[in-house]
């Protein structure tokens, strides 16, 4: 019986978690067929209680040093799968970016119809933050190397701070953003 099972194992194909392509479907069908056969030989009950031990991931980049004769899948597991809760920071950042974009989109007509100081300062904050996060993505895409990344982000933070300070100064001591655009367009 053991020999029979191992022959099935050797025929197992590439399995990738969360695979939704056609290959994944083929694999699942193959795995199902493998299990059907085992059902015919051993009955249904072992199949229902055991996990899918007949599937073995075959993806291999380099030989696993611990078990040189066994092939294993090297996967990136977030800390949440083996050591408590992980960080949702990146995901929340992404969501925050989209929400801010929508807020900024809504601010435009408000600024046109209600050019008041509250809108001026909201516009200053939203524009600066949207630009800061946007340029942050550009840095992430094109800047590589720990030190360079740190320097670029520090420079960006400085730029954004100065930008926000300048816009607030303009709102307080000068005509304000809404009025500035109106004046620019009036000529």
């Amino acid at each position: 019986m053991k020999r029979f099972i191992s022959s099935h194992r050797s025929r197992a194909a590439l399995v990738h978690p969360g695979d939704s392509s056609h290959l994944g479907l083929v694999v699942r069908i193959m795995a199902a067929l493998v299990r059907i056969r085992s059902v015919c030989c051993r009955g249904v009950s072992p199949l229902l209680f055991r996990s899918c031990s007949l599937i073995r991931p075959l993806a291999v980049q380099k030989k696993d040093r611990d078990c040189p004769y066994l092939i294993s899948a090297k996967i990136h597991a977030t800390p949440s799968s083996y050591a408590g809760s992980g960080s949702k920071a990146a995901s929340l950042h992404w969501t925050g970016e989209r929400i801010l974009s929508i807020v900024l989109l809504g601010l435009a007509p408000v600024a046109y119809f209600y050019p008041v100081p509250a809108v001026d300062y909201s516009l200053a904050a939203a524009l600066t933050l949207h630009g800061h996060w946007g340029l942050g993505q550009v840095v992430t895409d094109y800047v590589h190397g720990d030190f360079k990344i740190k320097m670029a982000n520090a420079g960006l933070f400085l730029l954004s701070t100065v930008t926000f300070a300048g816009l607030c100064y303009f709102n307080y001591h000068d005509v304000g953003i809404c009025k500035a655009v109106a004046l620019l367009w009036s000529k």
């Binding site: 069908i29 059907i36 899918c52 696993d64 996967i75 990136h76 524009l127 340029l135 190397g145």
Partner: protein, 169 residues
Amino acid sequence: MALLLRTVARQGLCLSRSQFGVLYRHAVPMGTTAKEEMNKFWAKNTQLNRPVSPHVSIYKWSIPMMMSISHRGTGVALSSGISAFALAALVLPESYPYYLDLIHSMTFGPQFLAFSKFALAFPVAYHTFNGIRHLAWDLGKGFKIPEVYRSGYIVIALTVLTSIGLAAM
């Protein structure tokens, strides 16, 4: 038989999602994060001074590609413009209406004014409309290739019309 096949396949699908560590007995979680791996890749390849294969210089440009980089380009340009404006507000001694009148006294005719309004409105309009297109993608909509092209053409048309309309105001 087909029912059994389907239930068994579905069972495999559900199990593969939840019992991650148990299911793949030979799946080894790596000690490094994806970010660390990427850094290692860049460090190694820049240190070895490996040449990069031509990519943007040889691949045929498509409308979606051009629109994507234009979205980034307009974003960077607008951000720089806002930062320059803020810096000027902090540094320059006089008020905004003063400098506006100064520029107007130097203008080269009404066409210059209309053109400069168009030049300001165009990147704002493009980035805004393409931004809405991006938000639609973030909701999962409009990824089919004909849809990508169609929404792209709509963004371009709206941008041109809005910029002309704003410049005329």
